[in-house]
């Protein structure tokens, strides 16, 4: 697969379409770059960075850019109240991390100080920017291409 090196971000992929959307929800201002062979998520580091219009960063939602196109496409205006099955909760003593207990991973999606955060419905752990990124990267077991 072609690797895409991105300024001010890093690459995750390939992803299932659903996961890519959920990740984009979770990481405010992320863009999902659509490829023929799957979806790649690029997390944007700085508001108003070179990849996204600042309006897109400030307004949580999902922005897609299809391969070969420079146009951004807003596919969802609002954040979901809750997402399920995204990644393991970072709290090791959360009931959802006990392998024999069948507790679905569920997270409330919050906007705190203009940025998206998540909160585990079960253990209440608040997952903010850097932790969110680490958690998502670890859960996807991909080679993050840090710039």
């Amino acid at each position: 697969m072609t690797s895409i090196r991105v300024e001010e971000g890093f690459l995750l992929g390939p992803l299932e379409y659903r996961d890519a959307l959920l990740l984009a929800f979770a990481a405010n201002g992320a863009q999902v770059v659509f490829m023929d062979d799957g979806y790649y998520l690029v997390l944007q580091d700085k508001p108003g960075g070179s990849l996204l219009a600042s309006a897109a960063v400030l307004n949580p939602g999902i922005i897609l850019r299809r391969a070969g196109s420079n146009a951004y496409e807003r596919v969802a205006e609002n954040l979901p109240g809750e997402i399920e099955g995204l990644a393991p909760c970072p709290n090791p003593t959360c009931i959802t991390n006990q392998p024999r207990e069948k507790a679905a991973r569920r997270f409330r999606v919050l906007v705190m100080e203009g940025r998206v955060a998540m909160q585990c419905v079960y253990c209440g752990t608040l997952i903010m920017r850097d932790d969110l990124r680490r958690m998502l990267a670890a859960s996807l077991r991909v080679e993050a291409d840090h710039s």
Binding site: I95, R100, E101, A103, Q119, Y122, C123, G124, L126
Partner: protein
């Protein structure tokens, strides 16, 4: 309003519901009756507990209910590898109300999602201990006449202590003057607790020193600072004195303050306080019975 409800977090209740609980608890003080005759309360304590388990048992029996249960995971089929989910399904078929304590955060919510009968969280890991918070707030109201407009200092391990977190959450249902969060830097209140304070517009101050704020405080809520939570013994030795409530501190405060503690205590409260007007912690422990009686009866939908 609480009939048939699960009690997972004190944040699940409104101020009106807490006030209804407190007025019912007042009527439960000294009450003996059979209003829950035929009811069975399961006390599923996967973690050690003295006060919570015994006071729930006593509360149930003073209402005429029977209790079943266990007081450690070792004594159950969990030790044989049974999941919490399966144990809850079993308890759900044996009892009308399930009280559950577990070491993992979210265990009570998982149980509530499985059980048809109401689940009361008796403590889940470091997260919630809603009935302790109810007792704490009730004690403040009984002694001070109101929970509103008072200044609070919540002291100790605010990161891992579920009683402290739940008390702070409970205060956000009311209108406290200010809450001082007194802890070493490494044991500060968790981000999710701070978020609730901010969202609800509660005035709070994070500080490391109790003596610096004691002159502005009406309620001191002490919790234990556990030595094992520190990175080094030296770090512990440096701060431990800051988290001890002494008679001198109380007397020099110039305030008509009271001291609460969810107990058990180790050495964070000077025993010379025990016989003074400052000590509210034994009354607090005794209030566990009427408050838990009130909660059980309201969930059952049967009032005295």
């Amino acid at each position: 309003m609480l009939k048939g409800r699960d009690i997972i977090s004190i944040l699940d209740l409104s101020r009106e519901e807490l006030e209804e609980l407190f007025s019912t608890a007042r009527r439960m003080e000294g009450y003996r009756g059979r209003i829950l005759e035929g009811w069975i309360v399961a006390l599923a304590f996967f973690e050690p507990s003295t006060r919570t388990r015994l006071s729930f048992e006593s509360a149930a029996k003073r209402l005429g209910a029977s209790t079943i249960g266990f007081s450690s995971a070792e004594s159950t089929s969990i030790a044989k590898g049974e999941t919490l989910s399966d144990t809850v399904r079993m308890l759900d078929s044996y009892a009308d109300i399930i009280v559950l304590r577990h070491r993992y955060e979210g265990a009570a919510l998982l149980a509530a999602n499985i059980a048809r009968h109401p689940v009361i969280n008796g403590g889940d890991g470091r997260q919630h201990h809603p009935t302790q918070a109810m007792i704490d707030l009730y004690t403040v109201e009984r002694i001070k006449g109101s929970i509103d407009d008072l200044n609070y200092a919540v002291v100790g391990d605010l990161k891992h202590g579920r009683a402290a977190s739940s008390f702070i959450y409970g205060l956000t249902m009311f209108k406290p003057g200010r809450i001082y969060l007194v802890s070493p830097p490494s044991l500060r209140a968790r981000p999710e607790v701070i978020r609730v304070l901010r969202e609800r517009g509660v005035r709070y101050t994070e500080t490391q020193s109790l003596s610096e704020v004691i002159g502005d405080v009406d309620i001191v809520y002490m919790t234990r600072v556990q030595k094992e939570r520190f990175r080094s013994l030296r770090e512990y030795e440096e701060v431990k004195g800051s988290y001890k409530m002494t008679l001198e501190l109380a007397e020099n405060s110039g305030r008509d303050l009271i001291v609460l503690h969810p107990l058990p205590r180790v050495d964070e409260i000077d025993q010379r306080l025990d016989e003074t007007r400052y000590a509210a912690y034994f009354q607090q422990a005794a209030n566990g019975i009427p408050v838990r009686m009130a909660l059980l009866s309201l969930i059952a939908g049967v009032e005295p």
